[in-house]
């Protein structure tokens, strides 16, 4: 992926901050969407298979409603899926320019799996029509969606984790950075548990609280509420165990007081979310559902910020050197511009004389105007007067026609005057 390295300039320190903000925002848009697709498609498949095993109208209805919910906006795979991924690839390529981390390669592989997942998702959705006749195809497509997103985003979480281990970058030779070091497993588990917990929160929100939702009967609503709340609570309670596992395997080079503090904030947010899920099991209060969903989005954002802090800690020195290199190039550009500007402002008086004055004047003979040797004497110690005359000529000698104004700017007139007086002195 050298071509991306060659395209990118070294980022300045302000540029690095901007890149991190862009990355954070793209992750905040992209990861919750992928989580909903992954979790939603898996739950949809699960309930479809449950219905096949033991016919249950609610299960089948929920399975279909889920898949329709997560595929309702046809533009979403582009706007929330592909475009943010491309932005992430370009931003990371800039941020990790010149490093040994093959981040562009890994994220391109993630993109391929992601795009496959989107295609399989819509095929899975359309397989509901012939579900009864082609159930194995229906299941295979559902599993295909799950596998495509799972593998792709396992690679993504492994890549994110690899950013915290600069000492490993030289030694990861595989195209799939999976299972080469111990921090990958807790990161993968964190991603999975977060996915299912967030999907549960999203199911509760979009079915029970969202203003654009379809009206549903109380029994169905109760089923969704209990399913979402219980699943959400289970996975939110599993996340802290994985957080501890992650910290056990976390590299010291990426750690800082900020990282631990933000983990503390994340745990606090998860605690509140767990209590909310527990409350939703018993209560039909829509505000609890909305609060849970928003809180989860905030938690996603907080975790994304934490990842950026940790990655920045791991690469602190490299980023400083990148910024120093950018400053050096910037100074070179400014110096080159200044030199060019100075060259452009140097006016050649002899050139102006040759191009303009010689049409009417020579030093030693009359052409149209008087010879210079006869008129320059009075200006020998008064250059300013000569410059003024060149800029505003007036008729002095009746033997000669009036000199037309040549519309020279003062620097040009001054340069010509210097040349004329020097030549006068040389020829005297």
């Amino acid at each position: 992926m050298d071509f991306l390295d060659n395209m990118a300039l070294y980022p300045s320190s302000e540029h690095i901050v901007l890149l991190k903000v862009i990355i954070g925002l793209m992750l905040l848009v992209h990861m919750p969407y992928i989580s909903i697709l992954l979790g939603g498609s898996l739950f949809s498949l699960f309930f479809s298979m449950l219905d096949k095993r033991e016919p249950n109208a609610t299960h089948l209805r929920f399975s279909k409603d889920l898949i329709h919910l997560i595929t309702s906006k046809k533009s979403a795979p582009i706007l929330l899926g592909v475009l943010p991924l491309l932005s992430l690839i370009l931003s990371f390529a800039q941020l990790y320019q010149g490093s040994d981390l093959r981040i562009t390669q890994y994220l391109l592989i993630v993109s391929l799996f992601s795009i496959s997942g989107f295609i399989l998702l819509y095929l899975f959705k359309s397989s509901f029509e012939k579900r009864e006749q082609q159930f194995s195809t229906h299941v295979l497509l559902g599993l295909g969606v799950f596998v495509a997103f799972m593998v792709g985003y396992l690679i993504f979480s492994a890549t994110t984790s690899l950013m915290f281990f600069p000492e490993k970058w030289n030694f990861v030779y595989t195209s799939f950075p999976i299972f080469v070091y111990e921090n990958e497993l807790p990161r993968a588990a964190l991603f999975l548990f977060f996915t299912f917990a967030f999907t549960a929160a999203a199911i509760l929100y979009f079915f029970l609280s969202w203003p654009g939702r379809k009206e549903i009967d109380a029994t169905y609503g109760d089923f969704i509420r209990k399913f979402g709340a219980v699943v959400g609570l289970i996975f939110v309670l599993l996340i802290p165990i994985v957080v501890v596992w992650n910290l056990i395997t976390f590299p010291d080079v990426a750690a800082s007081e900020s990282v631990f503090a933000v983990w503390g904030v994340t745990l606090l947010l998860l605690l509140i979310t767990a209590i909310l899920f527990n409350s939703i099991i018993k209560s039909q209060n829509r505000k609890l559902v909305t609060s849970t969903f928003i809180l989860f989005l905030v938690t996603f954002g907080v975790m994304s910020v934490n990842d950026r802090i940790a990655a920045g800690n791991a690469r602190y020195e490299q980023e400083k050197l990148l910024a120093a290199k950018a400053d050096e190039i910037h100074q070179e550009i400014l110096a080159a511009r200044a030199a060019k500007s100075a060259a452009a402002t140097q006016i050649n008086g002899e050139e102006i004389f040759t191009n303009i004055c010689t049409a009417c004047h020579q030093f030693d003979q009359r052409v149209v105007g008087p010879p210079y040797m006869s008129v320059l004497a009075k200006y020998e110690n008064d250059k300013d007067a000569l410059v003024q005359f060149i800029m505003n000529p007036s008729k002095i000698d009746t033997d000669y026609p009036p000199m037309p104004n040549q519309n020279l700017r003062k620097p040009e007139a001054s340069a010509v005057a210097d040349y004329l007086l020097q030549e006068y002195v040389n020829r005297k």
């Binding site: 501890v244 056990i248 080079v253 631990f260 503090a261 527990n278 490299q318």
Partner: protein, 170 residues
């Protein structure tokens, strides 16, 4: 009532996890964070801005298994005259005048059962930054590589050199 019990259990559970995270934070702060040195020596100034080579101060690295900390006389070669009014140089001068050793905090420690020779690695053409990071950008030295066995083996594998146990565990 049941909901309240569950909520209490959730709070206690998260409390326990938070205490564990706090424990990790304290452990990292006390044992893994860049140590505060008795004199705030900056590699960023000396190796970065001034461009001093590593071997200018760490003179034994090409001749010995250890890359020693330079003697105070090395520092005073320049700082007898340079930046004498700076607080850290005043501290240095005080140690010099009192003939006291500077109690530097070690950043990289190789366990006693491991034999590591700086001389061998320098002669093999390895740059200091491979293990010690970009020191020219560090205002305070911190450990950037784990220098655990896996790190060493990865590099030995990549360079095609001996991975025999006896190489490092003499």
């Amino acid at each position: 009532m049941r909901s309240r019990i569950i909520n209490t259990a959730i709070v206690l559970y998260f409390g326990l996890i938070s205490l564990m995270v706090l424990g990790f934070a304290i452990y990292w702060h006390d044992f893994k964070k860049a140590p505060v040195q008795p004199i705030n020596f900056s590699h960023q100034i000396h190796a970065g801005q001034l461009g001093l080579q590593c071997t200018f101060c760490h003179t034994t690295v090409e001749k010995s298994i250890r890359a020693s900390v330079p003697t105070m006389s090395k520092c005073m070669e320049c700082h007898k005259a340079v930046a004498k009014d700076k607080e850290e140089i005043i501290k240095l001068t005080r140690y010099w005048d009192n003939k006291e050793l500077i109690p530097w905090e070690k950043v990289y420690s190789v366990p006693e059962h491991v034999y590591f020779s700086h001389k061998r690695h320098i002669k093999a053409g390895l740059d200091c930054s491979k293990c010690h990071g970009q020191l020219a950008a560090m205002p305070r030295v911190r450990q950037v590589t784990s220098i655990r066995m896996g790190f060493c083996i990865d590099c030995h594998k990549a360079k095609g050199v001996s991975r025999d146990c006896y190489t490092c565990h003499k």
